[in-house]
Amino acid sequence: MNGYAGKILRVNLTRKKTFIIPTKNYEQWIGGHGMGSAIFWDLVKDKTIDGFNPANVVTIMTSPLCGTLAPAASARTEVQGIGVQSYPISWFTRSNFGGRFSSMLKYAGWDGIVIEGRADKPVWIDIRNEKVLIREAVQLWGLDTWKAQQKIWNEVMNSQEFNKWMKLRSEDKAERTTQKPAVLAIGPAGENLNRMACLIHDASNAAGQGGFGAVWGSKNLKAISVIGTGDVKVHDPKGLIQARLEQKKKYAFDMKNLKKNYMTTDFQSPPVPGLLFGFPPGSKRPKEGQRPQACIGCHSGCRARFASGLGNEASCFATVFYFAAKTLDIQRHACDLINKYGLNAVEMIYLLQYLKVLNSKRVLGPGGKIDCPLDFKGYGGLEFVERFVKMVAYRNDGLGNNHPFGDLIAEGTIRAAKKWGRLDEDLASGLLPFPFWGIPVHKEPISQLEWGYGSILGDRDINEHDFDWIKVDANIAKIYGAEPQATAEELVRIYTDKMEPFQGDRLMLDYSTQNMYSEHIAKLVAWHRYYTRFWKQSALFCDWRWPDFLNLQAPGKIGSTGVAEPRFLNAVTGRNLTFLDGIELGKKIWNLDHAIWTLQGRHRDMVHFAEYIYTKPSRGVEGPVLFLTGRKDGKWIYFNVLGRRMDKGKFEEFKTKFYKLQGWDTSSGYPKRSTLGSLGLDYVADELEENNKLGKE
């Protein structure tokens, strides 16, 4: 099958040996998450192990589209394994990053990397086409993620000048490239097993959630570098270039007729960086020379590089990590700090805010009940944030001295609060806005239902923006008195018409309180789980550019989703996969993941939000209003959702509806054999049965 390199690299760090897994063994899953979950299932016999256990397997997977001309679908890499961030159980989880890594891996001849075991001392993995070496990382250990990458660049390319062709071997006619190796690295945070530690690639591509930086640190793995000069074979080259150019012409922004000049998380967005510098109260964009910066193959970059180099390639949460900075430059420095030290921007924001509130309550501070060496008088300054980041990354006082506070907060916010005896109280009051699995809030979960339900029914903050633009566009329209992209009725029609196999059920996008626990919303959540599991996380279409539901460039504002995704995948692979085939495969992958969580200890009784979600009215995470689609007097409108509560009893009823829709045991949430069998997962049912975790028929 085209689009594949044909082999997956399996690295056993304990034995310092590498092996090859033939990709064809897992091609039925297409790529990315599907392959990762299937490989994890096969290789990890005891799925109840902790994320730090050497037997934990981390998969780093590409898709057939990686490295090709498929727009906004060429550059994502899916990372999976048992994480160390979530609570009370560190779920089998996923993260995902962009840039150049996945494409370079394909050019080197690999469809993915599987990491297992633990090296006896720090190592890095050096991949140059077919040649793979596990090398000592003594010179790299301790370096920040940027310095480590640059050192590896020079090492791999033997300090050759980067404006020339560089040969991968010494022979005159050897393979050559002008490209730098793509490196994925951990920083000091990962080395010190910080549960908020990320994997960082280039300046600011991060596999942020899950704490995979710490998992790598526990395996003594500092970095993976890859440089490749080979092909990604394409089944129908003519079809692919034609599809790309047509997609550009019909659905992408038009430089000669821009409909918008700001970034949107959809296909039609112009290439404007997704910066939140200065938020709140509003977005600030540095006034200096800059360019958009895009991942490989993307039609619309969502990052930027600047004349000062500050905040290069950063976007979204990374840029708002230190929103209280006294100056924009300090904020940009702070953004670079968390990338260099390799820390999860989202949790770092909420951790710092939590500490600040406790400090203002005189609970926390130098010599206080919670002895924290940070002096909050310096809050907003550069010195303060540098010390805070180092404290978290090095588990000390931020100045190089041992301190139990730094050691504890490196365990993450929830575990620190538990140690301080505050967890239940602060989750009940909402002082800790961590609605599910010990993960901080991102989108308001009682309002954006597919986000809230999808996260609690899964393993993490889903961070999938498929329906998020409904709110953003409606908010902009309401606040600034502008016209929304479409009327509520028009939008609901365009979206739901594409949501196979539930297409046409308009009530899937009725976010009103009377509908929020309904079968329709269960379908919305289910469709979202399936679409993202396959098209985004396995075929690896980018979350910020897909799906293409509503598109102002297109006739009737009807975007390309449903047609475009399979068109690109089939042009590359030669398959004849339909959009619905992908959704069905997404259902299978979602069920496989759910089976893994079940083996880890998941039961419906533990699937509940933090207490504040049931007791406190919803508040805006991103602003004072949150408009979504709903019905009033039989008419579709945009209405402000904020202020409502989640009803605990009705949420339980919703879970029953959702489990029923999934074909899971409604009393336990366990998968049923009949359901798994219908998906071709009998072997999964067997393992569940052996562990007394199979649902009742």
């Binding site: 490295g67 062709w165 393979e175 002008t178 092909d231 080259p237 034609q242 958009p292 600047f306």
Partner: protein, 234 residues
């Protein structure tokens, strides 16, 4: 055309509006003659020939490029039928940690008025394609893989590139021969890199750019729309 007006460029290029005169040594005449490309040359007098200039050029704006390398992917796709950055005739080189605008370089073939690659080839495998607007091209069946043309290109990284898979040289042909694309290429057609570039950072022109330095080829393509998106245009 960047910071230069057309008049300035015309002056710099005086004498090459249609042809570039080329002094050839006796050995080179023999070499070229043996290679069978005499038809490409217009003999002015003994030892001096004129090479017709290309009727098409790619200009780029490296300050605008978003580094997606779609141009490279398109180039290798339409020519090779596969995605391969190393076989792309246009090269984007970038550094995440560098400051704008030094973080990105776009290096495209200049279709030189005095093509060092053509002059260097001992086999006449590099030709001036008079049927297709004088585009400088490599005939891969004639190429013996000596790499003289690759080494002769004075612009790093060499714009005549080494196809290490098939052991021959290759270079930008402005998509004259793009077997995996339905569109007509060449100076009178379309070029895949131009068509695919999402931000219009590559432009095709017929006029010969200034041959001195890089200013003729590295130009400002940032217009009002670019300013509307919040980027500098000066």
């Amino acid at each position: 055309m960047g910071n230069k007006d057309e008049k300035t460029i015309k002056n710099e290029n005086s004498g090459i509006s249609r042809r570039r005169f080329l002094k050839l040594s006796k050995d080179m005449i023999v070499g070229i003659g043996a290679g069978g490309v005499l038809t490409n040359l217009v003999w002015v007098k003994k030892g001096i020939a004129a090479i017709p200039v290309s009727e098409g050029y790619l200009l780029v704006d490296f300050k605008k490029c978003q580094g997606c390398v779609s141009c490279m992917l398109a180039c290798s796709l339409v020519h090779e039928g596969a995605a391969n950055l190393s076989l792309s005739r246009i090269q984007i080189i970038q550094d995440s940690f560098e400051k704008w605008p030094d973080d990105v370089a776009i290096e495209q073939c200049r279709q030189c008025a005095e093509p060092a690659c053509v002059e260097a080839c001992p086999e006449g495998a590099l030709t001036i394609d008079t049927k297709h607007g004088n585009v400088r091209r490599v005939c891969k069946t004639k190429c013996i893989g000596c790499m003289a043309c690759v080494e002769a290109c004075p612009f790093p990284p060499s714009r005549t590139i080494w196809n290490f898979q098939e052991n021959h040289a290759q270079k930008c042909d402005l998509c004259v021969n793009a077997p995996f694309w339905e569109e007509k290429g060449g100076p009178d057609g379309k070029q895949a890199c131009v068509e695919v570039c999402p931000v219009e950072a590559i432009k095709f022109v017929k006029e010969t750019p200034s041959q001195k330095g890089e200013d003729g080829y590295k130009v400002n393509l940032r217009g009002p729309a670019w300013r509307l998106l919040g980027y500098p245009t000066d």
